[in-house]
Symmetry: C2
């Protein structure tokens, strides 16, 4: 993409009411725009990052048998009355609305009450199980305060999967598969090393739920981490019994702040029983289905990456989520510079390399370099009179200080091999 | 995909409260699930169709310089007060909601009031223009009645683009490009032949707006069509003056019902003036930007295709939007049949052909064939004891009565070439 055709500009300062580092950086770099607290517009580059994250999640979830669907935001009151979740005293972050005829509706904060009644139409036998429908969909949560940028949204993109099983063993087997898939997802997203499986409160159907917590001072959670064993306990359930239960030792645990980027939960029959979602098992006995739920906040992950992988110059995207691999800066508008930069842009693009080409005539080298750092693309490539004297372009990693000259005729192969 | 792993089943009958043909067929074939009037869940195959449609639109819109972004559903009251669109008497299909602190919000039915204030941050000069941000996003419209299936949703997926120009000529040039892109889109979606550019009421800033109307008895609009010239007039502006203006002849016009699948509109300065969105032109004069808007209802297009391209047996998807190219039916579970079917499935899949493989052991040939027709994939391929006696599989087009035997060793090349 040509920078001259991008309608977005970078900014020196974030809005004064934006206190979260992730949002400050993302706004300054032109990835998002703040509409109100907890509500953002994703600008062209921000949407590319969001989609890249979603696609990594999609692939790993498909690989364990997830089936993607899309459920609506508008929610039917009666279903939530059945599960006891309509009352604002029970669920305190509802957005409610109504039809012209006065019928009350809610905006979905989670979708158990959609999916269980839907599945009654399709699941008749143990042979139909296990299944795991999921969606990548916009959630609405009426947070009282929302000051953490993309990390606590009132409207945000989420991957939510729901598994249904005929038995506790079948449930457990899928639950463990999902756990592994989650770790793989966070690895691919570039935050695996700082993300830890954390036991948290389990509710009525199992002792623990499991969170994936990414270490960050900006996190809203406190966890107790065993770095060697790579597991943690959420403060909400931290006590001697739990420490013993997880085979940990108190003085090897470190108290740290963390961001909950994912969670998995055994819901038992909480959302199958109220909807009569049961089938005959192999022995011909009618059994209520056992349900698990598995969430990843996609926009929250984007905020987490921005929060963690950044320095005083700006963002540092891992290649897997970066909107482009290369920031190509053209210095000056001498004819041969323009010609060489255009050729480089075309060749790289044709080779399938994603390039943001800064072809602006009114920007200085300093402005271009500052933008390249702020926007945080993995590589910066400079075509200038000086580099052309060597028949080369100058390549720099976002996180390195040194540059290297790459001969223009070797550029495509060099860059295609550069990780 | 293996049919045995798809949690969705086809149904003999649609819900009794569903009167629209498109929704009846799509529900019976397992593409969508009705939540309430005008609100549907997209099941795995339905979501694939929706995404295929969205991707065709995305490519053609990108090709004319559209820049994809994603704006939120939650809308700020003050902005709509500025444009006079907050009042329910002015916009009668609002969904309204509120924050915990009592602040009223709306759910977006269109996004002019989002985008114009956003662009004030980025557009400073005539050099920044023209631009055309667009999104593929969920809209909310509180329709009093919603009985047309996917064709009139209360919550639905829409592509909405907004162009901003410095002058009437610049606006007009982009408007004409968008018109051509729209025709291309409907051609690629398989409904181009039945879709006609229709002049409709224009509002304060131009004599006409333009709709793309697809002929269908199920349509809610009446248009007067000149089939030779391939243009039409919407009933709402149909009079002698308009007929003359468009150089048409009254007795060559045919009154027909049609579905509005897209529209393009000159908004003038209606949504730039209230937000002070103006820049200096080349002569240094401060100018309010001229705006166009360009909508395509993506889920409505899906409903329109279902309505038009179907017969008494079921759906007939054009290949460009079909969730799979082939319905592969395996008849019987003799060892060599299973082996040949598995091999066929794997080979086609590896060759990049999208196959829905009916590997169910408990379904009869009749059930499989009925499902293949109902689901409407372009090709049906049968592997059976009988076909294997000829070293072949039996191929049939969805719309043809005749079948042909294709040797298994020629299958991949034959199918890859079959349009």
């Amino acid at each position: 993409m040509r920078r001259s055709q991008l309608f977005v500009k970078t900014r020196r300062d974030a809005p004064s009411d934006e206190t979260a580092r992730n949002a400050q950086l993302l706004i300054r770099a032109g990835y998002i725009h703040k509409e109100m607290a907890g509500v953002y517009t994703f600008l062209p580059l921000g949407l590319k990052v969001l989609n890249n994250i979603a696609n990594i999640i999609r692939k790993e979830i498909d690989a364990i048998g997830g089936q993607e669907i899309l459920m609506p935001a508008l929610q039917i009151k009666e279903r939530y009355e059945k599960t006891g979740r309509w009352d604002d005293k029970v669920v305190d972050d509802w957005f409610k609305t109504w039809l012209v005829n006065g019928t009350e509706l809610g905006l979905g904060f989670s979708h158990e009450e959609n999916l269980s009644p839907l599945l009654k139409n399709f699941i008749n036998s143990y042979r139909d199980l296990p299944i795991a429908p999921y969606q990548i969909q916009t959630k609405f949560r009426n947070e009282l305060r929302s000051k953490s940028g993309l990390m606590r949204g009132r409207e945000f993109l989420m991957k939510d999967m729901y598994s249904y099983a005929i038995s506790e063993e079948q449930h457990k087997a899928f639950y463990e598969k999902a756990k592994l898939a989650y770790q793989k997802i966070f690895d691919r997203l570039g935050i695996g090393g700082q993300t830890f499986l954390t036991s948290a409160s389990g509710g009525s159907f199992s002792k623990y739920s499991h969170e994936f917590q990414t270490l960050s001072k900006a996190g809203e959670d406190t966890i107790y981490l065993d770095r060697k064993k790579k597991i943690a306990i959420n403060k909400e359930v931290f006590n001697d019994e739990v420490i013993k239960d997880l085979d940990l030792t108190r003085n090897e645990l470190e108290e740290v702040r963390a961001i909950e980027v994912g969670n998995i939960f055994n819901l038992g029959t909480k959302f199958s029983e109220p909807f009569g979602l049961k089938v005959l098992d192999k022995q011909g006995k009618s059994v209520e289905l056992i349900m698990g739920c598995y969430g990843i906040g996609i926009s929250r992950v984007m905020g987490t990456i921005a929060e963690l992988l950044s320095d005083d110059k700006g963002l540092i995207w891992p290649e897997a989520v970066a909107p482009f691999k290369i920031y190509l800066a053209r210095l000056g508008d001498a004819q041969d510079t323009v010609r060489a930069a255009e050729k480089t842009y075309n060749e790289l693009t044709e080779a399938g390399v994603k390039v943001l080409y800064d072809d602006r005539r009114d920007a200085s080298a300093g402005e271009m370099f500052a933008d390249a750092d702020l926007m945080g693309l993995p590589l910066r490539l400079v075509v200038s009179q000086k580099s052309l004297q060597e028949g080369s372009a100058e390549l720099k990693n976002r996180t390195s200080e040194s540059t290297q000259l790459i001969r223009l005729d070797k550029l495509v192969e060099t860059i295609a091999n550069n990780q």
